[in-house]
Amino acid sequence: MWRPSRGKVGMICLIAAESCIFLTFVVAYLFYIGKSATGPQPAVLGLGLVIVNSIALFSSSFTVVAAVRALQRGQQSVCWRWLAATICLGAFFVCGTGFEWNGLMHEHTLYPSTNLFGTTFYSLVGLHLFHVIVGLMLLSTVLVLGLTGCVKSRHAHAFDLVSWYWHFVDAVWVVVFVTVYVIGR
């Protein structure tokens, strides 16, 4: 009889629900491409910083896999190092996005209320950023619990589910990147 693990089913459902929220914003972004009559246009987006940012975020998927594998093998201290690297890469992404937004606001005077481009850009990228921050909070919780000795290798499956969420945040970035920086630009 087919009876899947409840943690996995629950996490897949959560990811499905979150994907639908993202799809709503992606649809709105695509719908409004080129509809801004005034103000800065998508051409003001630079690619250099965002590519570095993306590399950091995508690498963090690999480091979190390494962390989960280490915990499964019972190598706690290796796991915490990989986990800390993941959090650093995620934090780098958050700071990088803040830097990018700072530039857009001060050099190009693009604010959320400036025009439809600002509205859809900040809300879609911001929604993703919010999820990165939630993911970082989850990972940091695991790290703090781990450093205080509460996480054993029998908890590896729970940590694995947290890593699924992190992979989801990464996968969404692929969609957001393609929408905003490839199709929309």
């Binding site: 089913v9 629950g10 799809l23 709503t24 719908f31 959320p112």
Partner: protein
Amino acid sequence: MTLSHSHPTTPAEGTQTLGARLHGWAVTVDHKRLGILYVCFGLFFFVVAGIEAAIMRAQLAQAAGKVVDPATFNQLFTMHGTTMVFLVGMPILLGMGNYLIPLMVGARDMAFPRLNAFGLWLFVFGAGLLYYSYVGAQGLYGDSAAPDVGWFAYAPLTNKTFSRGNSTDYWILGIMVSGFGSITTAINLLTTILAMRCPGMTLMRMPLMGWMMLVVSVLVIIAIPVLTGAQIMLLLDRSLGMHFFDTQNGGSSILWQHLFWFFGHPEVYILILPAFGFISEVIPVFSRKVIFGYPLMVAATVSIGFISLGVWAHHMFAIGMPPALNAFFAASTFLIAVPTGIKIFNWIGTMVGGRIIFATPMLFATAFVAMFIFGGLTGVMLAVVPFTWQLSDSYFVVGHFHYVLFGGTVFGIFSGFFYWFPKATGRMLSERLGKWFFWLLFAGFNLTFFPMHISGILGMPRRIYMYQPDRGLELWNMLSSIGVIIQAIAIVIFIWNVVVSLRKGRAAGDDPWNAWTLEWSTKSPPPEWNFDQVPTVGSARPLWDAKNPSDPDSHHERTA
């Protein structure tokens, strides 16, 4: 695993102080208590929304009515619709699923008991936010207190320019928060159904209710986040000056309609499929026959789930979409009538040749089938594009969706309520009062909503706060309003029935209806751990097998 099991030395409820008992209900993670709380909150808001409707019918009973002013009327229909969909339908249906699904699939609790409690209290908080608007939303503008933009809150009416004050913000936040609650409950139900079934309970041996709730959960997980996303956009528009739905700055009010109805149409199936589930349990038991065409019922449920994601723009025929889109959405709407029709024939097929017992649950189930056919037929009429052009936003539409949502969902809820009340409380509801309740509600319902089709065809627009005399609308509106009085009497009898039966009702025993599904194999009310021993099942009707060991269903089961 979980902390849900009470310590064996906990004193019985009767000997505890009131404070301790209330505390027990507030901190509970038991799916049965949470389910009961959902249903109680839902019934409370059912009465609230009913009072709102009654005030509207009082206003409309006569031409040029003067009971309420136009602004209050706008608030009343907005709050009535919002309350019925989000604070009555959703909590009662998901709550009954919450109570029944673990019992039906032979589990000791939901997959995530604490998440379950979190979902309930999110719903209560959201409901509180929505109704707090009556006292807190006025802002500094001296404007409307409660939301007054209609339950689908079309842009640009929700724009800060037209909806000043904070009422729309309360509408957004209240529905968003209770929507998060619905999503967590759906995740929980889906996981319970897939991952917590007892040994032997394959998917094709689940009670049909399990299949319905499975599809409903999928629809909630897909549809509610889209509403949440649209509401976030609206909130950003209103609070950060963004332009998603701001038509003055290139935003699109049509986008809101697409996003809202992409949620809104699956939502009506979210509201009807659990009721399908209830009567799919009731009809076989009271016809003393196995359900007709179980695999087809499953297939029809799944196809309804799929097709319901592709019919949303039939709510938007009147906005001037391209003909190709109109044709597509008309065709998909006709298509969804096919699996729904299959279900109707399966229920009738179950009744044919059965020894039908017309106890109150069966009365409601039978009325459900009849009323749902009626509402379904007017639905197919409204799928005809030119017909909708003629009658869009008229009382015909109001009559149509009340036949499916009241004659369908609410009758289904009462069918399930009378059927499972003995299991949840250990006492039977009075059959005599139950029959009075049924016939009065049935008569009052038809008297209220049937004339709306006629007043709609005569040209009465929905949401209008008054109409001029001598338009031929007086008689039909008066009949609708008289029907409300009859329905109100019925509801009073229902509440009286519940109160009296809780105190003095006949003891139910474990299995008062001689039924076949697992929930009837445990005590009434079930212990906190549901089953002393986790059951093992060999067919879709485990209790039939236990009662008829010489001819168990498993001998007749086709193995795929």
